[in-house]
């Protein structure tokens, strides 16, 4: 058993998921799967391999583990004044990552170019690099401007989980550091890590003063000024491979802070289940089956549910669940399922509807959203948008007519601008915060956006959106 445990310890350093797989293979080899001590061994593995989001369910002696996709991924962005060394730091991180065999070095020049990229038709100035620690894989984004970060968020490609604020000790906090923190808040970042750069160019007193100033500012802006990790170092020294305190070790400290201070986003198993309907068909003799990938929660046989969308809210219950064409008693988020719905006719089901746990989801036709109107050069509109703007809204697998209304005090939105707006759909849909969408005029994308809040439904008189009373 001791040999087995040390074997496990070695393996668990690689990745948590790999360790479980090899553990199970190994345990079979050692004949340990029926040995009473195995479950406690597995628990020990969990401690060794840090964060580990796997649930192992045993079905009559067979082990079928449902991977929650061990959260090996995190999105990080860098913010800070242009001359404070963001780019040098990013290059230094990739260099160290490459030396550790966990990434690929990207040079300063390559990062500095901040090429334009297109995401869903929008042009964003951003640089993306990737690197890994032994714990996690990171997608790192650096944008030159406030508007680029906002566009990145609105295009819905990824949510920033954390931000690294870079401040040079030689200058300290700048007036626009406030704007950097405001931006982080705007894009939903809750955890900030600070890197005080160019530390080798000033003395200890200055470094301490800068740290105090930053912590105060963090608190002012609603971040945790006390426990935010503040790492002091020199990106340039690290990039050159200098092994003194402010060189490579400081960047390693930064990576360690990323690993430990930023929580791993994980799949949601406990919320009421949500299944977006991709497809539906009739099984002769049994009834209507809907298929899709379970977005949230766990669905069990006989669960009460509602099929929602296009103004409909149909109560039903789940007759049978199939995963990989085999009947199962339950399915969890991430799995591709087929669910038999009791008492539902095939004609009632439409692509774009959602099957949700009974009484858990809301259907509405009015929402608050953040929207970006493509500029003329991106192929968008030439004229600004004023209120009562009606076009076709596309999201996931559905599209409905939608009316856009501007917030009070906003008179128009110019192409190339972003704003918070009210959306009114012609039919009630399940449209949740965080869900991205596009608006199209004559099949050309003119705007892209993301839902922020679901509002109470409004009356749409005679299916005429322009007559909706805006309160």
């Amino acid at each position: 058993m001791r040999l087995f445990l040390s074997f496990v310890r070695c393996y668990s350093r690689i990745t948590a998921r790999d360790s479980v797989q090899s553990l199970l293979a190994t345990s079979k080899y050692f004949g340990a799967d029926n040995v009473p001590g195995t479950w406690s061994v597995l628990k020990r593995v969990k401690c060794i391999s840090q964060e580990w989001d796997q649930s192992i369910s045993w079905f009559g002696g067979n082990c079928r583990y449902i991977s929650s996709e061990v959260s090996k991924h995190c999105n990080v962005g860098t913010i800070g004044h242009i001359d404070h060394g963001k780019t040098t730091l990013t290059a230094a991180i990739t260099r160290i990552s490459e030396i550790d065999g966990l990434g690929k070095f990207v040079s300063y020049e390559d990062i500095d170019r901040a090429p334009e990229e297109r995401a869903r038709g929008i042009t964003i100035n951003a640089t993306h690099v990737e690197y890994s620690t032994s714990f996690r894989h990171y997608a790192h984004t650096d944008c030159p401007g406030h508007v680029d970060f906002i566009k990145n968020m609105i295009s819905g490609t990824s949510q920033m989980d954390a931000a690294i604020l870079v401040v040079a000790a030689t200058d300290g906090v700048m007036p626009q550091t406030r704007e950097h923190m405001l931006l982080a808040k705007q894009v939903g970042v809750e955890k900030m890590i600070v890197f005080i750069n160019k530390a080798d160019l000033v003395d200890e007193e200055v470094r301490e003063l800068v740290e105090i100033e930053i912590r105060e500012l963090l608190t002012d802006f609603g971040f945790d000024g006390i426990s935010t990790p503040v790492i002091v170092g020199s990106a340039l020294l690290a990039l050159k491979g200098d092994s003194s305190e402010f060189g490579v070790p400081s960047v390693k400290k930064l990576l360690n802070a990323l690993d430990t201070y930023i929580p791993s986003p994980s799949r949601d198993f406990t919320s009421p289940f949500v299944l977006p309907v991709d497809n539906a068909f009739t099984v002769p003799g049994r009834g209507t089956v809907v298929t899709g990938t379970l977005l949230k929660g766990t669905v069990k046989k006989n669960d009460e549910a509602e099929l929602m969308g296009y103004d409909e809210k149909i109560k039903t219950s789940v007759g049978d669940i199939q995963v990989f064409k085999k009947s199962v008693p339950k399915a969890v988020a991430g799995e591709n399922v087929g669910a038999l719905l009791r008492g539902v006719k095939i004609s009632s089901v439409h692509k774009g509807m959602m099957l949700c746990a009974f009484n858990s989801a809301v259907i509405s036709n009015r929402f608050l959203a953040k929207i970006y109107f493509l500029s003329r050069s991106e192929g968008g509109r030439r004229k600004p948008v004023t209120s009562n703007y009606i076009q076709q809204l596309f999201s996931k697998t559905w599209s409905v007519a939608c009316r856009v209304d501007l917030m009070e005090g906003v008179s128009m939105i110019m192409p190339g601008e972003h704003a918070t707006v009210y959306l009114t759909l012609i039919k009630k849909m399940v449209f949740n915060p965080g869900q991205p969408f596009t608006l199209r005029e004559n099949n050309i994308t003119v705007a892209t956006g993301i839902v922020i809040e679901v509002k109470p439904s409004v009356q749409v008189p005679k299916a005429n959106l322009s007559k909706v009373a805006i309160g």
Partner: protein
């Protein structure tokens, strides 16, 4: 004494930084529109910086406000034309920089200080103004900035944003809502980007989307009518306008059909 020494030091540091950062591209910034309370004089300036983070920052914004005010003061002091009802004042950037600031130094000095504070290159790119004759009470100026500032439209204080418009109007009816109409017309100018006022000889464009003459354009706030018809209905006429879009390439200042630009003289 210590204070003035400190100020000298700061100014010297400012100039040092300004020289260091000179030439760095400045694609971001703000446009400031300022019309005096009487509606007789108006200025519009564009000041650039390197990132939109700085453009949103209060320190930069107060420098832009100062430049806007200095500009208006200059226009207020400029001579009125004896022949024309209004004058369009085009300010030369070099002369702009020498204008006195509220603190007694020059605008160039204030900008250098700001460059040191925010660590980015800052450039006063351009400025323009209108001056209407005092006696002509049916002439008035309107200004507008987009996006609408939160502090609303307090006459006599600079408005900051990414787009600005200034317009000179003649009110034939003594309209009680003329300020509002003037602002709405400016909003149209910002949104629809006309190239000229338009007049007798101008034919409507084949595609309304391509219409460059202000009077022939579909009115932004009521596309069922043209700007020309809308103005006539309300007894107003446009004499001239100018539009700034922050960071735009050709810096089109809008054409003046009748007047000659008065160059800034010290």
């Amino acid at each position: 004494m210590a204070e003035s020494w400190l100020r000298e030091q700061a100014q010297a540091q400012g100039w040092e930084k300004a020289t260091k950062l000179e030439g760095r591209p400045t694609s971001q910034g703000l446009v400031a529109v300022l019309v005096d309370v009487a509606g007789r004089n108006g200025s519009m300036v564009e000041v650039n910086c390197e990132t939109d983070f700085v453009a949103r920052n209060r320190a930069f914004q107060s420098v832009v406000e100062g430049i806007s005010e200095a500009c208006l003061k200059f226009i207020q002091g400029a001579p009125t034309s004896t022949i024309h009802p209004f004058t369009k004042v085009n300010l030369d950037v070099d002369q702009l920089k020498q204008l006195p600031s509220a603190k007694g130094s020059s605008l160039a000095d204030e900008v250098a200080l700001a460059i040191h504070t925010v660590g980015e290159n800052i450039v006063i790119r351009r400025a323009v103004g209108f001056k209407a004759k005092e006696e002509d009470s049916d002439l008035f100026l309107s200004g507008y900035i987009h996006p609408t500032p939160l502090n609303n439209l307090v006459l006599g204080t600079p408005l900051l944003g990414r787009y600005g418009a200034l317009v000179v109007l003649k009110d034939g009816k003594n309209h009680d809502k003329r300020e509002l109409l003037g602002r709405q017309l400016c909003q149209h100018i910002v949104g629809m980007n006309p190239r000229k006022v338009g007049g007798e000889g101008d034919e409507p464009a084949k595609n309304p989307e391509d219409e460059h003459c202000l009077l022939l354009q579909e009115y932004l706030l009521d596309p069922s009518t043209t700007v020309g018809s809308y103005l006539t209905e309300n007894g107003l006429s446009v004499l001239d306008f100018t539009r700034f879009e922050c960071g735009e390439e050709n810096g089109d200042l809008g054409k003046i059909p009748e007047n000659t630009a008065v160059k800034a003289t010290n």
